[in-house]
Amino acid sequence: VATRLLSRSFPGTPRGWLFCKMLGFLQRPVVVTADVNLTVVALTAAGLLSRLWRLTYPRAVVFDEVYYGQYISFYMKRVFFLDGSGPPFGHMLLALGGYLGGFDGNFVWNRIGAEYSSNVPVWSLRLLPALAGALSVPMAYQILWELRFSHCAAMGAALLMLIENALITQARLMLLESLLIFFNLLAVLSYLKFSNSQKHRPFSPSWWLWLTLTGVACSCAVGIKYMGIFTYLLVLGVAAVHTWHLIGDRALSNVCVLCHVLARAVALVVVPAVTYLLFFYVHLTLLCRSGPHDQIMSSAFQASLEGGLARITQGQPLEVAYGSQVTLKSASGKPVPCWLHSHPSTYPLSYENGRGSSHQQQVTCYPFKDVNNWWIVKDPGRHQLEVSNPPRPVRHGDVVQLVHGMTSRLLNTHDVAAPLNPHAQEVSCYIDYNISMPAQSLWRLDIVNRESDAEIWKTILSEVRLVHLNTSAILKLSGAHLPDWGFRQLEVVGEKLSRGYHESAVWAVEEHRYGRSQEQKERELELHSPTHVDVSRNLSFMARFSELQWRMLTVRSDDSEHKYSSTPLDWVTLDTNIAYWLHPRTSAQIHLLGNVVIWASAGLATALYALLFCWYLLRRRRRVCELPEDSWLRWVLAGALCAGGWATNYLPFFLMEKTLFLYHYLPALTFQILLLPVVLQHIGEHLCRSQLHRSLFGALVVAWYSAACHVFNMLRPLTYGDKSLSPSDLQALRWKESWDILIRKH
């Protein structure tokens, strides 16, 4: 049996070829040597079989496919969307499947269980996750092999991955976890390959290949889900410790050490960062059309998309001048994106709690486009409301008045408490009731993102704050909804307490045109007519990236309760499951449900590892070394990667406040499965004293693995969903009270 590694032969082959080509192939015969590890081939085949078997079944939307599917459709139609759940690489990979299968994006993803229409290439859509899941099996083998564990242990790890029901279920659908697990494992594997080639052949092509691949795989993992960052940090941590020892290696020259450190910094920090940006670059290049999520983004961003706002704002004048007609959009998307608005209704004379108001015209923020959103920028020193020729641009620091277009009243604030936030000032459109309340309608323009102090106020691009001259209050969206008298629009206040930067006090001109008409009637007509002149503007990629990334991180998911949500504590003991799909007529169903034997023994193995590790550590501290040095080092490295991988992928969930599901545990579980054979081999080698013990232990392991296989087989109908079970069978499968297995009542 060829016990050498399959993949080692892969880099070897092209390297030999390259070598020959470079040095002249005339000198030597062209030789291709390849040794194939049949075990790995067999494992890959088994993995493929288990993951790809009847992949198109069920031909219906299963669980979160309903969620990811809509994004695939958006990619197919190249419509912009915003998904706060994760970076775009995973979505793009799924969409790649759709692209390869010729999917046109025409499917309504609205209900779990809906039948796919014939234009949906289910097989190719599910192919990439399934392949990733299948390849995780031989990769588990390789990782243990690279950790210098025995062939049996490596086989054991791969076989456990093969029969883990939860991994199979998750890999066979259009979901991201199996891709994430694949890249996690790839990162660990390539790092191990790299660190093993470190001793013999540093700076060789294969050394570079594995080092770079580590970085790329890490960024792919992060690009699929943010939680990939845990594995990335783990790999970085291990790499840092290794580098630190390298620095301490006095046999190496200083220059050599510097080269080593730089190479690692580039491959493990710079390359992932660039790759991550690349994902967004592709994402933004692909999604060039405006879509349903435009509203969340800033006007500048929206204007960079085809259609939507760009169609409206296309060709607007860039520089705001005195006499410009503008709509002002709040930079804060909370609770909804909206525009500064006023309408002929006034504030009620007194509020419910007895406080009085100025009874002047209401100023609000309105989440829909409306003719009442138009304001005219007026020079306080002059009377005309049209743009002079040539236009006089407004600059940072200038004092302006804002005239409401339809009512011709001036934006005003004064020392009257705002309706819902009494500590702030009321903002109104000034009506002169001829009482001792003069108009205070002067506003100083403060361009937040200015580059110089003489910057001109620009449409869409400038973020401005309006600072009231008399009271230094800032025009701000408070975020509260006005009651019925304010038509449930959003409250706008003059905030005078704090002067820190906050999005809610920042506004940007969205629609803009130069006003031409002198008379109010004409002006109203003008306001009703659409804007059009011609200027194009482009936002740089970095600006778009940073805005998109920021929005993705801050976008809030609404109601977070879910029937199948669970807590991290439920995961270790597998106290929870998720029903993914139920056949519309029979009782065939798919559940995310783990192999109980594997979960329990993996948990035990982790605890045992921790105990043994502490025990050995204490003993070594007192100079009692039972383990030979090399097997101790191996034991520690395996623990750092596997137990560490489990801990970093699991423990942070205790701090998270979002809704959690069982599938969040799968990456951690994968690392735990890798640890299991490590612990078993250790027990067999070091803790079983006599040959008898060893054989006994071997028999136990075989029995245990058969039990795992048996459990896999019993849960198989729930994993593949291909068999209709009678209610009594289902009841028999409900091994835990907390499992929610669907039993039809007839």
Partner: protein, 811 residues
């Protein structure tokens, strides 16, 4: 590869015990040779240089007297830890000398002048600290900022009324005690900032806080002195804190922060002191400092939960300490066990006991009903005299026919309630509203009835039938005779839940009125206790659970809270209830005192309520909030008092010179620390003096850096509202780090310069200019703390004009 850390440590521990025999004694002696002549500034390079030079010639690799004298003494405690007994046996006279080194003991022979110098400086520093903190302490004579909370809570202690706060009680108890002792009678209302104190005696409380705030500075001085053995470093740290306007402002008012910082610094100081006693384990000073550390830890966590960070710090120090002891093969396991036990006793058992004692006092003092009652469970309220539940008596077990009120277990949700108003058209079914209501009211009363018999259970001819876990019941609203009802309509606000209504006429409804009553964590068939049982109501038809979403209904629901039936069977507090009032004439009443919770239960409950309260302090959207990254750069201050130019304004803002110097120092520290660490790892042979200094930098500085990081970075993870003043404990550590860093860097510069006069001049000049610079900046910025009247800083007329270096400062 990974385990090589272990190997490294092992190697270190074998290598180090050799050190004392070789280096130690000589170093000590040489150090003694130097200092006597220059007590004020024990700088190496002055008159003693020739000795140092000679030493270089004589000893080859050990030239370290010049700067190493300082470092040698820093190393000593560590070394002692590795092999104290061996060291003691081998060189007894060294032990004596080591003892003489301790600043606590008057040193024999040539030492007194130096020790005296330390004491004089300490006295000076303390005096200056007190002078700055007590200057104009009575100004402004009105309530400033959070005094309105903590002053009020102090009054509550004096008046013995129960209140609720998110912080543990020690700080407020001390404030109350200070007020009580200084003759404040607890009658001032502390209603809002700006209220004048008039005749009320507030100086006692402010004075107490200022006293503790002043002590921070001598503590910093001693800590740095112990860590670096360098007077200039200690002086510099003390000066940075003395001249920081932020620390000054925060120390002058009735706040928890000076008390918290006092305990944090005291714990740090006693930990450092105890570390330097490590060569004399189980001696009296060792026990003293160890237990003092424990006491201060209890104090810190007793004031605010932020005290947890100093506990982590001490914990980390202890674990690494024990790890070294454990690796020392010259110590028997029994000795290591003794060490372990001592630490468990002093650092875990003692603080825990004290912390519990604080709560015991808290509950004993506050025995009267007050504003905090509503936050606590019914059983808890029964303890408080003046509360309606106090000394009340009700039947113990629920029976059919009982009239009850049902309270949600979640804080501030209230009682299950219904009234004669229907849900408006279009919102679910047009049936009677069911809500939760926070106040006691007749409409909160419900009657428990059996599923389908309408016979009056109160009929004396029927036997009493208790309600048991798992029984199917009907809840009839007493005032309107409608049944608690649910059905497949979406709830008014939480769309994923089902609507809950009142349905039926005179108690006759349909099968949607049936609920299964379940007790959490109980077995089938158990009876249900008033107050103590945590129960759930499960709707029989839909299988959903009765709960309250905590959302406020619009006006049609009288702004009471929404009640829903949730299909998600999670055990959240929203869906758990308890029975509070209970009327059943057929059952004997028992006194609620029997049900009184035990002390551990009260303790647990008050912690749960505090944690929930802390989590509840979430920032709202569209509000300006302080972010952790604002703090070290001194981005924005806090208004303590006054807004307009006519007011007396106090603005909490760090002295920018100090703060920005601190920020720079952390960057410099990381840079120099990593350079040194890499150099050591590369096996570079550092000259003796540099090595000594770098040890000070890595060990002493490392401890302070750890302290800073532990008191700063966790805030990034916190979801609650944050304020600028949360940074001040971290700021203390970073100021101490600055002191050590600049002193060491200047010494390193001095060591690098060949000419001796120039070298000492560089060091002296550097330290002096830093001292004078901070003092001058304090002169510039002192109005921030001591109060300003007049035009705002943007006005050129203002005395503060030109000092508004950042636009975000508004004073």
């Amino acid at each position: 590869m990974l385990c090589a850390t272990g190997r490294l440590l092992a190697a270190e521990s074998t290598a180090l015990p050799a050190q004392p025999r070789g280096r130690g004694p000589r170093r000590c002696r040489r150090r003694e040779l130097h200092f006597p002549g220059h007590p004020e500034l024990p700088l190496c390079r002055t008159a003693s240089v020739p000795t140092g030079r000679r030493a270089i010639l004589r000893r080859g690799r050990m030239p370290s007297a010049v700067c190493g004298g300082l470092a040698g003494s820093e190393l000593r405690p560590r070394r002692g830890r590795y092999g104290p007994q061996a060291a003691r046996a081998a060189v007894p006279e060294e032990a004596a000398e080591a003892a003489a080194q301790s600043p606590k003991r008057p040193a024999p022979g040539s030492r007194p002048s130096e020790a005296a110098c330390r004491w004089v400086l300490l006295a000076l520093v303390t005096l200056l600290a007190f002078a700055t903190r007590f200057h104009r302490l009575d100004q402004p004579p009105h309530v400033c900022w959070d005094e309105t909370h903590f002053g009020k809570m102090g009054s509550y202690y004096i008046n013995r009324t129960f209140f609720f706060d998110v912080h543990p009680p020690l700080g407020k108890m001390l404030i109350g005690l200070a007020g009580y002792l200084s003759g404040y009678d607890g009658t001032f209302m502390f209603q809002k900032p700006g209220d004048r104190y008039e005749h009320h005696n507030y100086m006692g409380m402010r004075g107490f806080c200022a006293f503790l705030g002043s002590l921070l500075i001598p503590f910093a001085y001693l800590t740095v002195l112990e860590l670096s053995k360098s007077l200039p470093a200690a002086l510099l740290s003390a000066a940075l804190l003395t001249f920081d306007t932020g620390c000054l402002t925060l120390s002058q008012y009735i706040l928890l922060d000076p008390i918290l910082m006092f305990f944090i610094m005291a714990a740090m100081l006693s930990m450092v002191k105890y570390n330097s006693c490590a060569d004399r384990p189980f001696s009296a000073p060792w026990w003293f400092w160890l237990s003092l550390t424990g006491i201060n830890l209890a104090g810190a966590i007793g004031v605010k939960f932020v005290g947890l960070f100093i506990i982590l710090h001490v914990g980390w120090n202890t674990v690494s300490d024990l790890w070294h002891l454990f690796g020392d093969l010259s110590l028997s396991l029994v000795t290591v066990g003794k060490h372990l036990t001592a630490r468990i006793l002093c650092l875990i058992v003692l603080p825990l006991a004290l912390y519990t004692a604080i709560y015991a006092v808290h509950f004993a003092v506050l025995n009267q009903s007050g504003p905090g009652d509503g936050f606590f469970s019914s059983a808890f309220q029964a303890r408080l005299s003046g509360n309606t539940l106090h000394n009340a008596s009700v039947p113990e077990y629920l029976a059919f026919g009982s009239v009850i009120t049902v309270k949600n277990l979640r804080m501030a949700i209230g009682y299950l309630h219904s009234h004669r108003h229907l849900y408006p058209e279009g919102i679910g079914a047009h049936q009677q509203q069911v809500t939760t209501y926070l106040h006691k009211d007749y409409n909160n009363l419900w009657i428990i009835k059996k599923q389908n018999t309408d016979s009056d259970p109160l009929d004396p001819s029927f036997p009493v039938e208790f309600v048991r876990h798992g029984d199917i019941i009907r809840l009839e609203h007493k005032e309107t005779s409608r049944n608690l009802h649910s059905h497949y309509h979406e709830a008014p606000l939480t769309r994923k839940h089902y609507q809950v209504t009142g349905y039926g006429i005179n108690g006759t409804g349909d099968s949607n009125d049936f609920w299964r009553i379940e007790v959490i964590n109980r077995k089938f068939g158990n009876r249900i206790k008033v107050l103590r049982s945590r129960i759930r109501f499960i709707h029989l038809v839909t299988g959903c659970v009765l709960g309250s979403s905590g959302k406020v209904l619009p006006k049609w629901g009288w702004e009471q809270l929404e009640v829903t039936c949730t299909p998600y069977l999670k055990e959240t507090l929203n869906s758990i209830w308890n029975v509070e009032d209970h009327i059943n004439p057929k059952l004997p009443n028992i006194s609620l005192d029997v049900l009184q919770p035990s002390f551990p239960e009260i303790l647990l409950e008050s912690h749960m309520v505090m944690i929930r309260g802390n989590n509840g302090l979430k920032p709202k959207d569209n509000e300006f909030t302080s972010k952790p990254w604002h703090w070290p750069i001194n981005y924005q201050g806090l208004r303590f008092s006054g807004i307009n130019d006519t007011d007396f304004r106090v603005y909490l803002l760090g002295n920018p010179v100090v703060w920005w110097l601190n920020l720079l120092s952390i960057a410099l520290y990381l840079l120099s620390g990593s350079i040194i660490a890499v150099a050591v790892q590369r096996g570079a042979h550092l000259p003796g003096e540099v090595e000594g200094l770098s040890q000070v930098l890595l060990r002493g500085g490392g401890q302070l850096l750890l302290g800073w990081a532990l008191h700063y970075f966790p805030f990034f993870l916190m979801g609650r509202v944050l304020y600028f003043h949360h940074y001040f404990p971290a700021m203390l550590f970073s100021s101490m780090l600055t002191g050590i860093l600049w002193d060491t860097l200047l010494r390193l510069c001095a060591c690098g310069l060949a000419a001796s006069s120039l070298a000492s001049g560089v060091h002296m000049g550097g330290v002096l200019s830093l001292l004078l610079g901070t003092a001058y900046s304090f002169y510039l910025f002192h109005p921030l703390a001591y109060g300003m009247v007049g035009p705002l800083a943007q006005d050129p007329q203002s005395p503060m004009a030109g000092l508004r270096w950042l636009e975000s400062w508004d004073f």
